[in-house]
């Protein structure tokens, strides 16, 4: 297997995955710890025949994304927490206009400027809307560089399938770490993708308008009803990794980098005969609630661990509320998480009964 693998950072895996998926526009503005993405694409995107733009601000980059998506082009932007906050207005407009762009957030410490280290403080912003209005993004949370590459490819398929913005939520660990990645290219990207709604001139059809303003009687209500049905249809995309949950007494829920770090703690505790398992949501929206509920019905107990004050734990509790509850352990942003930090809280939760 070694001959096919390349050794790259998570940020590079994201950039390369996007190119493999046929992304041909990137708009960005520098911010640590995601700078490897625009750095890589500043050469690779033009080489692939696409457009790379270092915009004058995050606001501009996000609105360029809106424009490219409206033309039916596979396009994306990337940033890190404070920069993603600045993009929220355009993301809301994209959701309201049903435009298929991809936004990458390499989460850093916050609030405010925080630091440049890893954190998971942007979970709420990513999965509960983030900008104004009632909308949802599809949110994917890779834990490895290979998964970052793979999910980046999938994000464009999902964005066009649902005509909805998709967010890739990583962190400084994923962005900066290097791992072997086996690159691949998806087959059968439909060249007619977006043909029935995108703006590319009206020579072969009547004029189209893409907008998020609905002032006519009943128009907005209809749009929101339509969006609700779309979000319900998205639920089939929910996905998670279950690791040693079958015979586990305690299931630890963690996503992204924390998910894989907790996996090491779970392995060590297992080696000492402790019946613990890991549930790692890969899609954060839709949240894999049904799988969690099934585990709860089998009598499992739950501990949610995050690199924040407690955000995903609310979705875990919602999922299992009719049969169980989840404890919570939050590792504070500003510190680097290691398996040792989670071992004690997991053991304590297991033994509390």
């Amino acid at each position: 297997m070694s001959d096919k693998r390349i050794f790259i950072k998570g940020n590079e895996a994201i950039a390369m995955g996007a190119l493999a998926a046929g992304a041909r526009c990137f708009f960005g503005y520098p911010i640590t710890p995601q700078n490897d993405i625009p750095e890589f694409l500043s050469k690779a995107m033009p080489d692939a025949g696409g457009e790379f733009v270092q915009a004058e601000s995050e606001v501009a980059a996000a609105n360029m994304l809106l424009g490219a998506a409206a033309c039916g082009i596979r396009a994306f932007t990337s940033s890190s927490s404070p920069g993603v906050s600045l993009k929220q207005e355009a993301i809301s407009y994209m959701a309201g206009s049903e435009l298929p762009g991809v936004i990458v957030n390499i989460n850093r410490g916050g609030p405010g400027l925080g630091d440049i280290g890893p954190a998971q403080g942007d979970y709420f912003q990513a999965v509960k809307g983030g900008g104004h209005g009632d909308y949802r993004l599809l949110v994917l949370a890779p834990g490895t560089c290979q998964e970052a590459y793979d999910l980046m490819i999938e994000s464009f398929d999902l964005a066009f399938k649902y005509r909805n913005p998709v967010m890739i939520l990583g962190d400084a660990i994923l962005g900066q770490m290097k791992e072997p990645v086996e690159p691949w290219k998806p087959e059968g990207i439909n060249p007619e993708e977006g043909k029935d709604w995108a703006l590319y001139g009206a020579s072969d059809h009547s004029p189209r308008i893409i907008k998020s303003l609905f002032l006519g009687e009943g128009e907005l209500a209809g749009q929101n009803q339509h969006l609700r049905e779309k979000y319900e249809a998205m639920q089939v995309e929910a996905r998670a990794e279950s690791y040693l949950t079958e015979d586990a007494e305690l299931v630890v829920c963690a996503y992204g980098s924390i998910g894989r770090i907790v996996k090491s703690a779970v392995r060590k505790l297992r080696a000492n005969g402790k019946k613990v398992g890991l549930f790692r949501p890969i899609t954060l929206y839709p949240f894999p609630s049904n799988e969690l509920l099934e585990l709860a019905k089998k009598g499992k107990r739950f501990l949610t661990t995050e690199h924040n004050l407690g955000q995903m734990v609310e979705d875990v509790r919602l999922a299992i509320r009719t049969v169980a509850d989840s404890e919570f352990f939050g590792f504070m942003p500003g510190n680097l998480p290691t398996p040792d930090a989670f071992e004690e809280p997991i053991l304590a939760a297991l033994e509390r009964k």
Binding site: M1, S2, R5, F7, D115, I116, G117, I173, Q176, M177, K178, E179, P180, R260, I261, V262, K263, S264, A265, V266, R267, L336, P337, T338, P339, D340, A341
Partner: protein
């Protein structure tokens, strides 16, 4: 057979600790193993120290960040203070005795491999080879992979501008592996 090794490589910025971390991880990949490499940056870098963590395993790797490593390559005094006490009991410490007094590591419950990497690099004719000498000592003492695998990966991590230095780097790796305290 299951193989698992992790190592923190730490020293001053400019000693090339990130480069040998990359080299070790790349060589591990070429051996068909799973590897992770993560540079650790943050406030501690402002003091002029740098470190990275490499995990090499025949199994899927969980955490790329390790608090209590099995091994540590320590290139300077601040790194010994910070990481020495964290090394797993009976773990391995490669200690640059050109810059750190061996006495300072005596109380640690680990196997210490003292090696004056600056002097050895100087004797090879290029002071900047010190990182390769240290890595050679680690690969030899840990047995994580054959030294030839690391030497063979040099061309993938050394920028093309310095390609002519690859044989000298390979020699430095060998010198580190061959060194007897």
């Amino acid at each position: 057979m299951n193989l698992y090794q992790d190592v923190i490589i730490a020293g001053f910025g400019g000693q090339g600790v990130m480069l040998i971390g990359n080299l070790l991880a790349y060589a591990g990949m070429e051996q068909g193993l799973n590897v992770t490499y993560i540079p650790v940056y943050g406030p501690e870098m402002r003091g002029g120290t740098a470190n990275c963590t490499v995990v090499v395993s025949s199994e899927e790797i969980g955490s790329p960040i390790i608090h209590r490593p099995k091994s540590c390559i320590v290139m300077n005094r601040p790194s010994l203070d910070k990481f020495g006490p964290r090394i797993e009991e009976n773990g391995l410490l490669i200690l640059n005795t050109s810059l750190v007094d061996l006495e300072l590591a005596k109380g640690l419950p680990v196997k210490v491999v003292p090696i004056p990497v600056n002097e050895i690099a100087d004797s090879l004719g290029n002071a900047r080879l010190l990182n390769m000498v240290a890595l050679g000592a680690y690969v030899n003492a840990s047995g994580v992979m054959p030294l030839q695998a690391v030497q063979g990966a040099l061309g993938h991590v050394i920028s093309s501008h310095y390609k002519h230095l690859i044989p000298k780097n390979a020699e430095a790796l060998q010198a580190g592996a061959d060194y007897k305290p």
